[in-house]
Subunit: 386 residues, 2 copies
């Protein structure tokens, strides 16, 4: 196990009706907040009314930034930064899924930075402070509600990039599973693929001595597999929505990756796909993951994949390779059964772009640590997934 | 899943050599600390020299409270409180196992409380503040390094009682697996039984809808089962010591119990045993646990025990009861294989005391939530375990 430091003080407030506790949490930090949300679904399902009701009740005033899109844009960040400055706001409250949360985080970091917030993503500036961020989550997927990461897209440069900073860690996250009841099956499925992909990136690590973390990874994967079909077919099943929501948080709050040399190649490849084609992140991951698995499956990786097949899917057998391949096939079939696409061509990707994606994916060096991938490797995975 | 709030800001600094980071952590809070430790093993294995070396290097002065015993006594707490006051110390640094950590926590809470710290345990006073606590852990067992709990014994009243307060949460915990290399096999085994018992108390919950938490519980149990024999036979196996140390922390830092109606009956019974006979906590738990399991195993509990047997021990079979019983038997045999005792009579307990133990155990009402136990139930479990 590698040496590590783990510290995650985000206060998780979980369960039906817990939004009522949000007012007191906000007031620890601010009287005036920027409320960030997406396409307006929170106005249809009652979440907007509940959140603003609590704010009003606690005498907290707010300004709104609406319309944050999936694969959130740096333009929305800029807009949010301007609103915070103009209105002297001192907290950013994200009400939405991971895109809204990521956008809110970078707005918070940008308010007291005097240049353009895209600088953070280009390595031109380091985040040195941020307004406090609060979260009311409406989608189980990214884990952004309890971590230091944010991913933002840039329409001008056609890039999608991630950053990490302790300053971005939310102060609190309200996780009410009923807020995900209205998430349609496809988005629910994409969220599940995203959670599972986060776990794969941590599970398939370059070191093999973090046994406890591997078993915990399997716990999250089994939860997704058990409740995924339930949530897609019975959207108001509380038990399923609750377990998936908590799985999304555990999946990427740092507890699974401690002591590990994690991979993240699949995510880096997917970022290039959705940077060019605005593909739903989880759908892109569902397409790429089985191909990544098959591509990296060779001698030293076999036992780990066989463990995966056995521990997660219950596949038994004497032949390690057959077991491993059967586990990968079950993974592919599982995503398919949730209604997720299986080919890049089906989500609008055009073949001539694969080369550019591969090139960009390795612009910063080889990808992954479970198996290091160069441009030709990435291109081959993209081709197989096309 | 029940509604919950999870917040645990303890900074875990994990791995070989990480004590070097301790100085900076202490200095965030204090220049003058009370260093609390136990019977002196840290002077033999080099930990004392490393810790004091780091303190000296950072210009931190310290006063020592040595000799804290397993099942730490309120007298040690009183002594520590007096030392803090006399010497105007502003942090308590625990260097040891769970007993030392618990003692340090209650000292921290007692310094600014103007009456006797035993009041906290009798419900006469609530903890309203505490000095910051830091931990350098030398035994994988209690999880106290990352939680809000403390258990203290009182020689005068022959009681052993627990308290919980957010003020007791350590600011940081240095977890260096090599610091457990010199823990003898019996203490190592007792620590493993303690970790597993913590998990059982959370796993066998009154509600059955916290699927993810149950799978995470199984992850910790499997880790104990996998590495327990290794650590006992190869005390300097880093991988085993590291996984067990992290298992102890994960086992009781709150992450397994969220959303659950946990049990804790076995712990409450064991507290009465070791209050009267000063039994090693983990050994007492190893004796009592299989008997508790058999006693509560009836119709509604069967599926959970069958899951336990299957998921943790890999036992398969069509008959749920046989599977469940086989799982319990494996648990008993596992503890035995680690050299732990199987009968209360073997650890000095006298039969006439069982009645008093049972009476005291239920003094505050029935025990447990997985199955509620009255005095006769507890007495029967104690008799079977005798």
């Amino acid at each position: 196990m590698k040496n590590f430091v783990f510290e995650n003080p985000t206060k998780v407030i979980f369960g039906q009706g817990q939004v009522s506790r949000m007012g007191a949490e906000v007031k620890k930090h601010a009287q005036r907040v920027l409320m960030v949300y997406g396409g307006g679904s929170i106005k249809n399902n009652g979440v907007y009314d509940q959140v603003t009701g609590v704010l009003r009740e606690h005498g907290i005033t707010w300004v709104e930034l609406a319309g944050v899109r999936p694969n959130p844009r740096i333009d929305s960040v800029r807009e949010g930064v301007a609103l915070c400055r103009e209105n002297h706001l001192d907290m950013v409250l994200a009400v939405g899924g991971g895109s809204v949360v990521d956008c809110a985080k970078v707005i918070a970091a940008g308010v007291n930075y005097d240049k353009d917030p895209w600088d953070f993503f280009e390595g031109k500036a380091k985040i040195r402070e941020a307004l406090p961020v609060g979260v009311v989550l409406t989608l189980a997927a990214t884990g952004s509600e309890m971590n230091v990461n944010a991913v933002i897209s840039n329409d001008t440069t056609k890039e999608k990039k991630g950053i990490a900073s302790n300053f971005l860690l939310p102060k609190f996250a309200v996780l009410d599973p009923t807020y995900t009841y209205t998430v349609p099956p496809f988005q629910t499925a994409a969220g599940i693929a995203d959670i599972m992909s986060h776990v794969f990136e941590q599970y398939f690590s370059a070191n093999h001595d973090a046994y406890l973390q591997d078993r915990m990874c399997e716990a999250v994967l089994k939860t997704c597999i058990y409740y995924g079909p339930v949530a897609c077919s019975q959207p108001e099943n509380y038990e399923a929505r609750a377990n998936l929501m908590w799985a999304s948080t555990i999946g990427l709050n740092g507890i699974l990756s401690v002591g590990k040399l994690t991979d993240w190649a699949t995510h880096m490849i997917e970022h290039e796909v959705s940077a060019l084609y605005d593909v739903t992140h989880g759908a892109g991951l569902a397409i790429l993951t089985p191909h990544w698995m098959e591509y990296v499956l060779d001698e030293p990786a076999l036992p780990k994949f066989a463990h995966y097949a056995h521990n997660v899917w219950g596949i038994t057998g004497d032949n390690e390779k057959e077991t491993a391949l059967a586990g990968i096939e079950r993974t592919r079939k599982f995503f398919q059964s949730l209604g997720l696409p299986t080919r890049l061509r089906d989500v609008g990707v055009e073949e001539p772009s694969l080369e550019l994606m591969a090139e960009r994916a390795v612009a910063g060096g080889t990808l992954g640590r479970f198996k290091k991938l160069g441009k030709e490797d990435v291109l081959e995975i993209l081709r197989r997934a096309f």
